[in-house]
């Protein structure tokens, strides 16, 4: 092979061409062959023909060559691309190393933005997007009764308004065509107390009664042992229990031998037939914030005579939609009412997917959260665009040089985009660390009443989302500066004019736009957070009707030997001994506390004429004398119960103002008689101020308080004490006092009454906290942006400021001018942001509590806060501007 002459090297100057490569190669072969043949004595024409004949099918060969050539060419191009990318990345790393301040700020800002997005996505994914942790969970349907009751009363009737009797459940189960299986659990799980004895200290258990097919319908297989048998769920069947995984782990040290053994519950042996898998958490799906220890069979024949107690879940047949099932329910339930005239109500039901039941209420809040972090991400992008642009001044010459040396504009843009992508990926990596921390924190807020809380985690979907976010952020914040920086006038940039005035001006306009949009975004965040915060404060300000501070509660147990007459004296003695404990100011017992569980019975004034379809439900609480003052409920009229209200005396009740308003409007209810509470009419002896019973946001519904001494239907017993000292320190002496009466009183702890309130507001607190945090983050980033832009423009105008000062402008004047330009940007941003906030207000209106989405005070506060932040971030550059020394500015210019 000879050396290639100079000109030949440019044969493929216009790019590779596999087609003509193949042609050239084969032509060379044929020509050489022909030459050979001629040399051997063939005549030239015949030689050429012979060469072609020997070659054979030249076309096919040529075709193969073209295909292979193109393939190689593509690979080479891809390799070149990779090599270029590698070079870009190396270059980026070098330039970031040279500018560590920029790199650190950029990556931190990105990490914050991407981190909160990854964390919120993990929450959203678990609660809204991911299916429930059951097999084929989209076919599970939740039944909510009371469709024909007006919404307000339905809410007021509490659980009783939404659950089913055994008969209603079984009728529907038998007659429907839509469901493959129907199951139920007992919602009044605390009405039966479960006391574990014989393994350590006596212990109160939280147990839920479930129908025999509960686990199989949900698609949950016991991790150890087996499910309940049909026999175990019959009246008189062998007592059996399934343990929850956590209870098994904590109480029995994960001992597999426990399966098949009997434990002592309520003094009787109960066989542990199995342990549920760790993935099954009843509380997280059906009762957020509750930890269940044990499941026992619901004996339907036992509950048949009770009222509405069952929560019903169905599994649809394949191919049946929820709407079809709803149709069928709408037909069946009214029909049942006709054939069962003794039914209390028609059980018209709303059917939703179980998923909707679990997280439907949270959808709006989560969307708002998602929206908020999206805004933060936008602010982050704007900020980084800004940072990139401020580097433009120093880099414009370098970029112009590259272009002058032959790099295409696309090539330069690609290099700048590589830079922003490297930054955003680095930010994403750090952000994921933040996200892991946030998610870990959230998932371990056990007391928060959020469903599926424990299963919130950063999973592969979150990682994918984070990657997507990182790449789009990188492109988003990189593309505008890249296009701007790579364009522009080469000559201008290359000329040594120091500050790069011409492009500087256009950049400045662009940067001002960025800052305005940043302020607008922060403004929307701030208004949203402000509105939610205001609602939250309003909620905390609600008059609860009782005093949760300095009070605590504890589950207690008493043994009246099944003789109701003995109960009064026992309770009285219990309370006397508890009150005698030093530090206890007063004590009382109730079966249910406000903001906790509830149930409803009827209440009707004797002698009144009511329309037939009237809602007469009232929430009932069985209490002892002293309970009402101990809780801090306010007696408006009449008297509290007394120990002398014994079963043989006239039965009495205390009602709340809502009940008085409904039953005896405009009259004094004291001394009036009421039906439907007891077997005989009862006398109203007192009226108390309304107590919030189901949530802080919902106004009180009619309530009836019944003395425990006159009615045996108490659902458990909770002791409430009022004390000035920490209740935890009293627990052991109170327990000692209780055990003198009842040695088998289980170990228990005092729970501050405030925790009921905290529990009730925890979802709201959670969202407000997050949104407020995000708003603060947004404002901080916006402030950073303002500072960056103003400070940059001051640097750019040093010369100009110097001239003006030399011509007599005072420092105050210079400073005012800088602050004025800051304010101009801020005002523009606030105007835009306020307009956007007005629209956003509608989005969050349903999350607000007695706060208008256009609350003037919130908007005003937001405007003032933003102006203050803007002035502070403009102040530092302004001060710097006013300290420009005219002499040095002019000399250096």
């Amino acid at each position: 092979m000879k050396k290639i002459p100079f000109w030949r090297r440019y044969a493929r100057l216009l790019g590779a061409d596999p087609v003509s490569d193949v042609k050239d190669e084969l032509r060379f072969h044929l020509e050489t062959k022909t030459d050979d043949l001629i040399r051997r004595g063939w005549p030239p024409g015949a030689a050429r023909q012979e060469a072609e004949r020997q070659f054979g099918d030249i076309r096919t060969v040529q075709h193969i060559g073209e295909r292979l050539g193109e393939k190689m060419e593509r690979r080479k191009r891809f390799n070149d691309y990779l090599v270029e990318c590698k070079r870009d990345v190396r270059y980026t790393l070098r330039s970031l190393r040279n500018n560590p301040g920029f790199a650190v700020v950029a990556i931190l800002v990105l990490a914050l933005g991407i981190g909160v997005n990854a964390a919120v996505f993990s929450v959203v994914n678990t609660l809204l997007l991911r299916p429930l942790p059951f097999a084929d969970s989209q076919r599970l349907v939740w039944f909510m009764g009371g469709k024909s009751i007006p919404a307000k009363m339905r809410a007021a009737a509490g659980l009783s308004g939404q659950t089913y009797t055994v008969d209603a459940y079984e009728e529907f189960k038998r007659n429907n065509q839509s469901f493959q299986a129907m199951t139920a659990y007992q919602t009044f799980y605390n009405s039966v107390q479960y006391k574990l004895t014989g393994s350590g200290e006596p212990r109160q258990l939280v147990a839920v009664e479930v129908a025999d097919n509960f686990f199989s319908t949900l698609g949950v297989q016991p991790g150890k042992g087996r499910d309940f048998t049909r026999e175990e769920c019959q009246k008189g069947g062998p007592p059996a229990a399934l343990l929850s995984y956590y209870f098994w782990k904590n109480q029995f040290d994960s001992d597999p031998a426990i399966v098949g053994k009997a434990v002592t519950v309520n003094g009787k042996p109960v066989t542990v037939v199995g342990v549920l898998p760790a993935s099954f958490d009843f509380g997280s799906v059906f009762a957020p914030g509750m930890k269940v220890d044990m499941f026992v069979p619901a004996v339907m024949d036992f509950w048949r005579t009770w009222g509405n107690t069952l929560a019903v879940v169905g599994r649809l047949k394949p191919g049946v939609s929820v709407a079809q099932a709803q149709d069928e329910a709408d037909r069946l339930f009214p029909h049942f009412k006709v054939i069962h005239p003794d039914w209390y109500e028609d059980y018209a039901s709303d059917l939703t997917t179980l998923k909707d039941h679990v997280s439907g209420k949270l959808r709006r809040s989560l969307v708002v959260l998602w929206f908020a972090v999206g805004l933060i991400l936008l602010i982050v992008c704007v900020n980084l665009s800004n940072l990139q642009l401020s580097r433009a001044a120093t880099r414009s010459k370098e970029l112009a040089m590259r272009r002058a040396l032959g790099a295409s504009r696309g090539r330069v843009i690609r290099q700048l985009l590589t830079e922003s992508l490297v930054l955003s990926i680095a930010g994403a990596v750090l952000g994921l660390c933040f996200a892991f921390a946030i998610v870990f924190y959230i998932a371990h807020q056990g007391s928060m009443t959020l469903p599926l809380l424990g299963s919130i985690r950063v999973d592969s979907a979150s990682l994918g989302w984070t990657l997507l976010v990182a790449v789009s952020v990188g492109v988003l914040f990189g593309v505008a500066p890249a296009v701007k920086m790579s364009g522009g006038n080469l000559q201008h940039a290359l000329k040594d004019n120091g500050s790069g005035m011409a492009s500087g001006r256009s950049h400045e306009r662009f940067r001002a736009t960025l800052v305005v949009s940043e302020i607008a975004l922060a403004c929307v965040l701030l208004v949203g957070a402000g509105l939610l915060l205001r609602s939250f404060l309003r909620v905390l300000d609600v008059d609860l009707g009782f005093e949760p501070s300095h009070a605590a509660s504890m589950q207690v147990d008493y043994d009246d030997g099944g003789k109701f007459a003995a109960r009064g004296p026992i309770l009285q003695e219990m309370l006397r001994r508890v009150s005698a404990v030093p530090g206890i100011e007063s004590a009382g017992i109730a079966d249910m506390l406000p903001l906790d569980r509830n149930r409803s019975w009827g209440l009707a004034a004797v002698g009144a004429n009511y329309p037939k379809d009237r809602d007469d439900s009232a929430l009932v609480y069985l209490v002892t004398p002293g309970y009402i003052p101990t809780l801090g409920m306010r007696l408006r009229a009449g008297r509290d119960f007394a120990w002398s209200d014994t079963p043989d005396k006239q039965h009495v009740i205390i009602i709340n103002e809502a009940a008085a308003r409904r039953e005896w409007p405009g009259q004094d209810p004291i001394g009036k008689m009421a039906n439907d509470v007891d077997k005989t009419p009862v006398r109203v002896i007192g009226v108390i101020a309304d107590v919030r019973e189901s949530s802080l946001e919902v106004a009180s519904s009619p309530q009836v308080y019944i003395p425990m001494t006159q009615n045996p239907d108490a659902e458990g017993a909770t002791l409430v004490v009022r004390t000035k000292i920490a209740p935890e320190s009293l627990a052991s002496s109170v327990l000692t006092a209780l055990r003198t009466l009842n040695p088998s009183q289980p170990a228990s702890e005092f729970r501050p009454l405030q925790s009921l309130v905290d529990h009730a507001v925890s979802p709201r607190r959670f969202f407000v906290l997050l949104v407020a945090l995000f708003a603060a983050l947004g404002v901080l980033l916006a402030a950073l942006g303002i500072y960056g832009v103003i400070s940059y423009s001051v640097t750019q105008k040093t010369q100009e400021i110097g001239v003006r000062m030399a011509l007599g402008a005072t420092t105050g004047r210079v400073m005012r001018d800088v602050l004025a330009s800051t304010l101009r940007l801020t005002v523009a941003g606030i105007v835009l942001g306020t307009a956007a906030s007005l629209a956003v207000g509608r989005l969050i209106a349903s999350l607000l509590y007695s706060t208008s989405p256009w609350d003037a005070r919130t908007f005003l506060g937001m405007v003032l806060a933003l102006v203050a932040v803007a002035l502070v971030s403009g102040y530092f550059p302004a001060r710097r501007a006013s300290r420009v020394s005219p002499m040095s500015a002019l000399r250096n210019g």
């Binding site: 092979m1 000879k2 002459p5 060379f28 060559g65």
Partner: protein, 119 residues
């Protein structure tokens, strides 16, 4: 006497091409020439198979190509062994020798001894 002309076994062409390049870059024409001369005109490589084989080797990065000038001053595509190609050649040559030896041994076996039936 007419010399026997043998078609190449599948796969052996690749190893012959690699071998022909071991002393330096060659273009396609001189590769055929080399193989023909080295095999004393026994092995004839058809152009229709040579070029696709060359390109496949190039695609597998066992050889690399470069345009250059031939002895007769024409523009020609020269192929050169890459280090991967060199490794491949060594391996294939070994395989080939083992194969040939084994085949030869079978073919020259001295008559069949009937296997001993177990008593």
């Amino acid at each position: 006497m007419e010399k026997p002309r043998l078609d190449l076994f599948r796969g052996t062409l690749d190893v012959l091409i690699l071998k022909s390049l071991i002393w330096g870059p060659l273009h396609g024409y001189s590769i055929t020439d080399f193989i023909r001369r080295q095999s004393d005109d026994v092995l004839l490589v058809e152009e229709g198979t040579l070029y696709p084989a060359l390109w496949r080797l190039e695609n597998k990065e066992l050889v690399e190509a470069e345009w250059g000038l031939s002895e007769n001053n024409r523009k020609a595509k020269f192929y050169r062994l890459t280090s991967a190609g060199r490794r491949r050649l060594k391996q294939e040559a070994n395989n080939w020798e083992t194969y040939v030896a084994a085949v030869a041994k079978v073919l020259s076996a001295p008559g069949l001894d009937s296997p001993q039936e177990p008593a």
